[in-house]
Every structure is written in structure tokens, then in C-alpha cells.
Symmetry: C2
Subunit: 321 residues, 2 copies
């Protein structure tokens, strides 16, 4: 776990229980798999989704064991979707390290993702309410359905900001929103507050993913880490580029045309995106979502949990890592 949560009282302790719960849920019968997957939960992940779930649960009366199990299940679900996403997008790296399919082959990566999903469902079926078990399963089906539909649509739709926003909704906002919804409903938070948390989670997720995509353009490391060329070829342009294209005189469009694109052009591309205000405009989007989240948070019942939600929202927007 990183230092991200250090000044959130109680959260680092809870998260270390979540990490233990994940290790237990992976089971000790399968040492090889336990090793292969265990790494994924011990790296520099920020455990944002379980952290958010834990904060949301504090708005009510939580049952500690159930809440920790639910947070662990959510992180497992998240990692399972990452493993399958990296296969699907053919991304060789994840957080700067080889993706699971790069290390173990696509075959085992598909199976390891399935294994994780099934372990996640064992956890929810065993510890949480059937309603929350259903919520988690529904989140997966929404995430998959959105990806499939966008994909089946790929020959007709051109990359656009709307398409991008839909994609990150399915990828990130659904899980952030689920974290708030599941955490608060397991703790029997009144519906009005729970719904407000759910909406705040959604907006935070959108802002978070946009910032993530901006950081990819800003960090020089990203030149090495991110297969930008592949993203473009697969029509996976992110918001900074899409914003820059709106301010373009045709030069950038020419440059990113998949048939012309060469990986060696990435540094020039990034400069052009910055020149065309791509990053600045993308930041405006992130601010808008954060402000919407902050408005929801301001209307939550006052107290420490609300302060933590506020702190999280501003921290996610201001982060540089």
C-alpha cells in the first residue's frame, strides 16, 4: 500500500485487513496461483476502491467483518477486470510491470481472471448480503456490456469525447460508484445519503480516470510505459488528445492517423497535444466532475466521514502520481 491514505484516520489499518482478506480469499490450496496473483495486491496499488468503500461504510453502522470482505471482493473484481482488459487491449505493461498475460501467457491470464472473479463471488456469497453480492455481479455485467457494445460499434463510431466518456464510465466510474453504494448499503446508511454517495463516487471515478489519462501525457516515464501507438491504433485515444484534436488545424489529425502513426513520433505528438491545449482542456473536464462530486459531498451529513470524502476528492484531483 502506498502513503496515499496516511492522513485518513483508520483507513490504513482497515486496508491492511482488506489485504489480508484478499490473501485468504485467494486460498491456500493453489500455491502457484496464490503466488502469481498475490503480487498484484501487494504492489504500489493505492487500493482506492476499497478505501472509498470503507469511507462510505462510515456513514452508517458497519459490521466490520462484512465490510472488510466486501472491500476485498471489490478489489479482486477490479484486478480481475484489469487482467482481462490488458489481454483485450494487448497492453504488455501494467503499472510499469509486465501484465499478467505477458508473464504467464494469455491462456493463463484468462483463467486467472476467471479464478479471481470466482473467488470474489465466493467472498460475497459467504459474507455479504445477497443484495450486495448482486450489486457486484451487476457491476461486472455493466462493465463488460459497455465494452462489448463499444467494440461491436467500432466500425461505425469515430473516436469522440462522448465515446471516451462512455468508456471511462464503464471502466472506472462504475466501480467507484459501486464502492460508495455497496459500502453504504452494507452499513445500512439511509437511502438518500447512500444515493448521494453513489453519485459522488461516480463523479470521482470520472475525474480520477481523466486525471490518470492526463498524467500519462505529463509524465516522461509514460513514453516508456504506455504503448501510446497501440492505443491510437486500437482507437483508444484519451481525453487530452481528443481535446487537442478539437483545436487542431489538421496537422495533429494527420499525425495520429493510424496508417501514418509511428511510435517514434510519440514525443512530437505529446508536444503537439500540449500546444493545442489538450491537457488544459482535459483538466477542465476533471474539474467539472470533481466540482459535481464536491457539491454532493457538501450535502452529506456532517462529520468525519464527510471530511474524509472531501479530502479524497481534492487529493484525487491534485495528485501528480
Amino acid at each position: 500500500m502506498t502513503d496515499f491514505w496516511l492522513d485518513f484516520p483508520g483507513i490504513p489499518e482497515d486496508l491492511s485487513h482488506v489485504q489480508k482478506a484478499v490473501q485468504e480469499a485467494l486460498g491456500y490450496d493453489h500455491a502457484l496461483i496464490q503466488n502469481a496473483l498475490g503480487d498484484l495486491f501487494e504492489g504500489d496499488g493505492k487500493l482506492l476502491r476499497p478505501g472509498l468503500l470503507l469511507i462510505a461504510s462510515r456513514f452508517g453502522k458497519r459490521d466490520e467483518k462484512k465490510t472488510i470482505a466486501l472491500a476485498a471482493a471489490l478489489e479482486m473484481l477490479h484486478v480481475a477486470t484489469l487482467i482481462h482488459d490488458d489481454i483485450v487491449d494487448d497492453s504488455p505493461l501494467r503499472r510499469g510491470l509486465p501484465a499478467v498475460h505477458s508473464r504467464y501467457g494469455k491462456k493463463d491470464a484468462v483463467l486467472m481472471g476467471d479464478f479471481l472473479l470466482s473467488r470474489c463471488f465466493i467472498l460475497t456469497a459467504s459474507y455479504t448480503s445477497p443484495a450486495n453480492a448482486t450489486l457486484l455481479a451487476k457491476a461486472i455485467s455493466v462493465i463488460c456490456a459497455m465494452e462489448i457494445e463499444q467494440d461491436l460499434d467500432r466500425f461505425t463510431a469515430s473516436p469522440s469525447i462522448r465515446r471516451y466518456l462512455r468508456k471511462i464510465m464503464g471502466k472506472t466510474a462504475v466501480l467507484f460508484s459501486l464502492a460508495c453504494h455497496a459500502g453504504s448499503s452494507e452499513a445500512k446508511v439511509p437511502l438518500r445519503t447512500s444515493e448521494r454517495l453513489r453519485r459522488a463516487g461516480y463523479d470521482l471515478g470520472m475525474a480520477f480516470q481523466i486525471i490518470d489519462d492526463i498524467l500519462d501525457y505529463e509524465s516522461t516515464e509514460s513514453l516508456v510505459r504506455k504503448p501510446v501507438g497501440n492505443d491510437l491504433k486500437a482507437g483508444l485515444a484519451t481525453l487530452p488528445l481528443l481535446c487537442a484534436l478539437r483545436n487542431d488545424d489538421g496537422k495533429l489529425a494527420e499525425m495520429v492517423n493510424p496508417t501514418n502513426f509511428r511510435h517514434a513520433d510519440v514525443p512530437i505528438l505529446i508536444n503537439t497535444v500540449i500546444e493545442r491545449n489538450g491537457i488544459q482542456d482535459a483538466r477542465t473536464y476533471a474539474h467539472r466532475y470533481t466540482n459535481r462530486a464536491l457539491a454532493e459531498i457538501a450535502a452529506l451529513p456532517p462529520g468525519t466521514p464527510r471530511e474524509l470524502m472531501h479530502l479524497l476528492a481534492t487529493r484525487l484531483l491534485d495528485r501528480t502520481y
Copy 2:
């Protein structure tokens, strides 16, 4: 649905409800996916696993709605594993038709499998007991874990009958056994009977898969349908070949050496397997498992459900399709 179940009183009616439950569980929000996946449940599938579950539930007092939901979830789980298996094994065909990944690409096939799994869990979380929801999730994790472990092991282990039996245990026997276990426990069948059914299901699954692999050698159609060469290259030799290799003077071993193997040799290979008693010996294995199943079935409480189990066991052994 095929005519397979025609003389099992009540089962065809139940199975048509199962098919409806599957369609409902796929949801109507996602027309594209509904279409793509709906096909898979309407083909010439025998619905063996849900059929077995329905018979097992008749040993107790079943709640119709729950039992139908559970049977539907089991079939969805089965189809999800088939979709992912075909990606993993690079099989272009499934039941003589293009596999999902051949039709929609690997990317959407991974996602469609995940979508199906999640829909399966929504169904179990909503309708069945948490114990049965857990059973289904555990079955997936066992299936995946066994495949992964065999795969991580592939550089050390040579193809062998023991390895083959382990593989089909993970692939087929686990689900047959689960069908009996889940169906009977949802219907509150006493533990002793339920355990007996579970063991019978396991043995039936083993026999079924062996027969399936024998039929692949016997049917001339299989020359077209099955990518035998790929199977051999991936170390996926099935029982007839493995038995024949035991009676071999070296000629067959030479022929199936992956570096020598040419697809055009398939007809000669099949003849050699038959000459070396591969099919006959494999049938002996299938008989042994069927006999074990029949012994368990004979010890079940008498009545129509037991007769149906007996009929199913003999029919699975004698089938030629």
C-alpha cells in the same frame, strides 16, 4: 434442445423453463449481446448439466423457481467456460459452428464470457441459497485452478493418461458432480443421498467426457470439425490416442511428435489409433466409470428419480452422437 430427454418424464418441460430463465437472465438491456449469446443456448446442446440437476432435485422437495434458476445458472456457467476455453485452446469451432471468438474476436469473447459469468452470479445471488451460490463460484475456481496448474506444469509433464484424467475431471466431472450436488441440496435431500448423487455425477461426467473424446475419433465428421493437429501441438491428446500409445512400437509416437505432425496425416493417425486398440481401451475406462456411477445409483432410494438417473447413465454410455 435435442430429443435426448424425450423419454424422461417432465424433464423436457422443465428444460424449456430453464431456457427461458437463461434468456431472462441475459437481460434485455443489451440487445447485441443478447443476440450473440442467445444463439449459444438455442443450438443442439443437450442441456445435460441442467437436466442432471433437475433429476437430482427430484430426490427431495424442490422449490420450482429456485431449482430452475439454479439449473439456468449452471448452464450459463458451463457456456462461459466453453467460450473462454475455446480462446485458451485456440479452437476455431464449437459444435461444428464458429466459436464465439471466431465470430466476434478474442476481445469480445473474453468479455462475453465475463458477462455470462456475472449474469450467472446475479441469478444465484438473487434466487438460490448462499450455499449454492458459493458452490457454483467454487466450481469455477476449481476448474480454472486445475487448468492453470496443468498449464504452468506443461514443461515438466509429458502427456499421460493420469494427466488426461485430471484434465477432464476439471473440465467435465466437476460440473456434473456440481449439478447433482447443487440440485439435491437446493431440494434439501438428506446428506447421505446428496453425497451419493454427487459421486454418481462425478463418475458420469468422467464417462461422458471419455465417450465424447472417443466419438471424435469415430465420427468421420470430426476430420473436418476438430483441429486435431492443434490439439496435439498443444499437448491436448485425448484418451484413445494415449491408450494407443501404450500399445505402440514407436511408430505412432513418431507420427504424433509435434515437430513432425502434419494435418494431412490425421486420417492415417486415426487408423493407427484404432489398430493399436486405442478406442477399445478407452471404452474400458468409460465402462469402469459408468459402472461406478451405476453402483452409486443402485444404492439411492428407489423411485422414479433413481430410474431416471439409471436411464441417463446407460444412455450417456451408449450414445453415438
